[in-house]
C-alpha cells in the first residue's frame, strides 16, 4: 500500500494547494520507535484523515510534517519544500502549512483579531491595516466575525478552535494540519468546528486530519489512513475503509469507535 497517490477531487475556486509526500518515515523517542517506516502521499487539494488508536503514531506523523517533531529517517516533501532537508528554511516552510491543535493554543494575551494578525505582521510583514482585513475576513469565514475583540477566555471551546482555524488561514496556507481538532470540545460545539472544516475541504484546501470523528471522515475525506503501532495498516477510499475494512486490526478498532458501548465477552 506504499506510494499510493491519493487523488484530488474536482474542486472549484482558485486555491494554491500543496501536496505532501512522505517516504519511509521513522521516528523514535530513545529506544521507543513510534513511526516505523511510514509512506503516504496527499495530492494537492485532497483531504486525508488519519485514524487509529491512541499511541499509534498518527499525531507524531502529523507533527513531523511541519517539523514540530524531527524525524530520524525518511523524507517529507511539502509543496516545494523538502522538510527533512537539514538546510530547509523551516520558518518559510511553516508559513505554507497551517496547524490546528487539540488544545487550540490560542494566545491568551491577545484578542481574537490579534491572534489572527500577529504572525501576519511579524512574519509576512503585512501592514496592521492589511492584516486586520485578512483576519476579519477569516473570522467571518469561521462565523466569528462579531467576536473579533473577545479574548480567548471569553470564548467557548468550539469558538476558540474556530478562531485557531482562522488564525492559521490568515497566513494563506497551502496545506492545513488538524491534530484531533474536536477531541477537547464539548459535544455541542463539535458540529460548528466540523462544518468549518467541511467548507474548507470544499474550497479545495489540502487537509491532513487526525480525528476520531468517523462521520466526518466518511463524509469529507477522500482517503482514510488507519495507523496502528507506528505503521500504516490500511488505507483507501474513506467510505470503503470505514464501512468495509479488510484488515483485522482496522475492523476491531472501528467496532470499538463506532459502538463504544458494545461489550465483547471473552474468556
Amino acid at each position: 500500500m506504499n506510494d499510493v497517490v491519493i487523488p484530488s477531487r474536482n474542486h472549484t475556486g482558485p486555491v494554491h494547494a500543496a501536496g505532501v509526500s512522505i517516504k519511509d518515515l521513522r521516528k523514535s523517542y530513545g529506544s521507543n520507535e513510534v513511526l516505523k517506516g511510514i509512506s503516504l502521499d496527499v495530492a494537492p487539494g485532497a483531504v486525508v484523515c488519519l485514524i487509529g488508536p491512541s499511541g499509534s503514531g498518527k499525531s507524531t506523523l502529523l507533527r513531523c510534517v511541519n517539523l514540530l517533531e524531527q524525524p530520524n529517517e525518511g523524507t517529507i516533501h511539502v509543496g516545494g519544500f523538502e522538510a527533512t532537508d537539514l538546510d530547509v528554511d523551516i520558518d518559510k516552510m511553516r508559513r505554507k502549512v497551517g496547524m490546528v491543535f487539540q488544545q487550540f493554543n490560542l494566545f491568551p494575551h491577545l484578542n481574537a483579531l490579534r491572534n489572527c494578525t500577529i504572525a501576519q505582521t511579524k512574519v509576512l510583514k503585512r501592514s496592521q491595516a492589511a492584516a486586520d482585513k485578512v483576519a476579519q475576513a477569516n473570522l467571518d469565514r469561521v462565523g466569528l466575525g462579531h467576536l473579533a475583540d473577545r479574548f480567548p477566555d471569553q470564548l467557548s471551546g468550539g469558538q476558540q478552535q474556530r478562531v485557531a482555524i482562522a488564525r492559521a488561514l490568515s497566513m494563506d496556507p497551502e496545506l492545513m494540519l488538524f491534530d484531533e481538532p474536536t477531541s477537547a470540545l464539548d459535544p455541542e460545539t463539535v458540529g460548528d468546528v466540523l462544518s468549518v472544516m467541511r467548507n474548507l475541504a470544499k474550497e479545495g484546501m489540502t487537509m491532513l486530519v487526525v480525528t476520531h470523528e468517523m462521520g466526518f471522515a466518511r463524509e469529507v475525506a477522500d482517503r482514510v489512513v488507519f495507523m496502528d503501532g507506528g505503521v500504516v495498516v490500511e488505507e483507501g477510499v474513506a467510505e470503503r475503509v470505514i464501512s468495509n475494512p479488510t484488515q483485522g486490526r482496522t475492523k476491531e478498532f472501528l467496532k470499538r469507535v463506532l459502538d463504544p458501548t458494545h461489550i465483547e465477552i471473552s474468556e
Binding site: 520558518d91 511553516r94 504572525a119
Partner: protein
C-alpha cells in the same frame, strides 16, 4: 466532667488570650517609659530631618531601587533564557552565577564593587553606578529564578503555535512566551522590588556625599546629630513602609487578578 470538643477549643482560646494579656501587661509595666520616649519616640526633635529625608533620602532610595531593578530585570531575563537554553555552557554559566550571587550576602557585593573593583582595576565608579551594578547583579540572580519559573509555566503549546505560524524562535519568545511569562510572575516580581527597596540601604558602606544619602543613611546620621536616640531610624523605617506596603498591596492585587483570568 468531660468537655465536648467545642468546649475544649473555647477554653483553650481563653487561656491563650489570657497569656497574651498578662505578657503585654508585664511588658508595659517593666518598661521605663521615660527612657523609651526620649530615645525611640522622641518626635519633638526630628524636625531638622525634614524635608531632606523626603526630597533627598526617599528620592534616592527610589532611584537606587529603580536602577537596581532595571539591571536586575534585564540580567535576570538573560540568565533565565540561558538557564533554559539547550546549549549546556549557557546553562552552566547561568547556574553558577545564580548560585553564587544568591549565596553571598548582598553587603559583600556592595563592598566588592564599591572598594574592590576600583582598587583592582583603577577605576572610580560613581555611587550611582556602584548601586546599580551591585543591587542589579544580586537582583538578577533572584529574578532569573522567578522568570525561569514563569517561562516554564507558559504551556508548551504556545511556543508550538507560534512556531507553526512561521515565527522564528526568538520572535516567538519575544512576542508570545515572554509577555505571558511576565503576567505570571508579576506578583513575585513585585516582591523582588520590595526586597530591593530594603537592600538599597546597604549603600551605607560606601562614603556618600549629602546629596547621595538615602533613607537609612538619613536615619543613621540623625542618631548622631539630633540627640533623639533611635527616633530617626524609626522615621526612616516608616518611610520604607510607605513604599513597601503599597507594593505589597499591588502584588496581592496582581495575584487575585491572575487568579481570575489568564489575560
Amino acid at each position: 466532667m468531660a468537655m465536648t470538643a467545642r468546649q475544649r477549643a473555647r477554653v483553650s482560646l481563653y487561656v491563650q488570650a489570657g497569656i497574651f494579656v498578662v505578657a503585654m501587661a508585664a511588658l508595659i509595666l517593666a518598661t521605663d517609659w521615660k527612657t523609651v520616649t526620649d530615645n525611640v519616640f522622641n518626635f519633638g526633635k526630628i524636625g531638622p530631618m525634614f524635608p531632606d529625608i523626603i526630597l533627598i533620602g526617599l528620592k534616592n532610595t527610589l532611584i537606587y531601587t529603580f536602577l537596581g531593578f532595571i539591571v536586575g530585570l534585564s540580567g535576570g531575563l538573560l540568565l533565565a533564557l540561558m538557564k533554559l537554553s539547550t546549549f549546556p555552557l549557557y546553562r552552566w554559566i547561568a547556574t553558577g552565577y545564580i548560585e553564587f550571587f544568591r549565596g553571598i550576602p548582598a553587603l559583600l557585593v556592595f563592598i566588592a564593587f564599591g572598594y574592590g573593583v576600583p582598587l583592582a582595576f583603577g577605576v572610580q565608579w560613581s555611587v550611582t553606578v556602584v548601586v546599580m551594578v551591585s543591587l542589579g547583579m544580586v537582583a538578577a540572580a533572584y529574578i532569573a529564578e522567578t522568570l525561569r519559573a514563569g517561562l516554564q509555566a507558559v504551556p508548551k503549546g504556545q511556543m508550538e503555535a507560534a512556531r507553526s505560524l512561521g515565527m522564528p524562535m526568538w520572535r516567538s519568545m519575544v512576542t508570545i512566551v515572554i509577555p505571558q511569562a511576565f503576567r505570571i510572575v508579576l506578583p513575585p516580581l513585585t516582591n523582588e522590588v520590595i526586597l530591593l527597596t530594603k537592600d538599597s540601604s546597604l549603600i551605607y558602606v560606601l562614603g556618600l556625599t549629602a546629596s547621595q544619602y538615602e533613607l537609612t543613611k538619613f536615619g543613621r546620621d540623625g542618631i548622631s546629630s539630633l540627640g533623639a536616640g533611635l527616633t530617626p531610624l524609626l522615621v526612616a523605617g516608616a518611610f520604607y513602609l510607605v513604599v513597601t506596603i503599597p507594593l505589597s498591596l499591588l502584588a496581592r492585587k496582581f495575584e487575585s487578578r491572575s487568579a481570575r483570568t489568564k489575560r
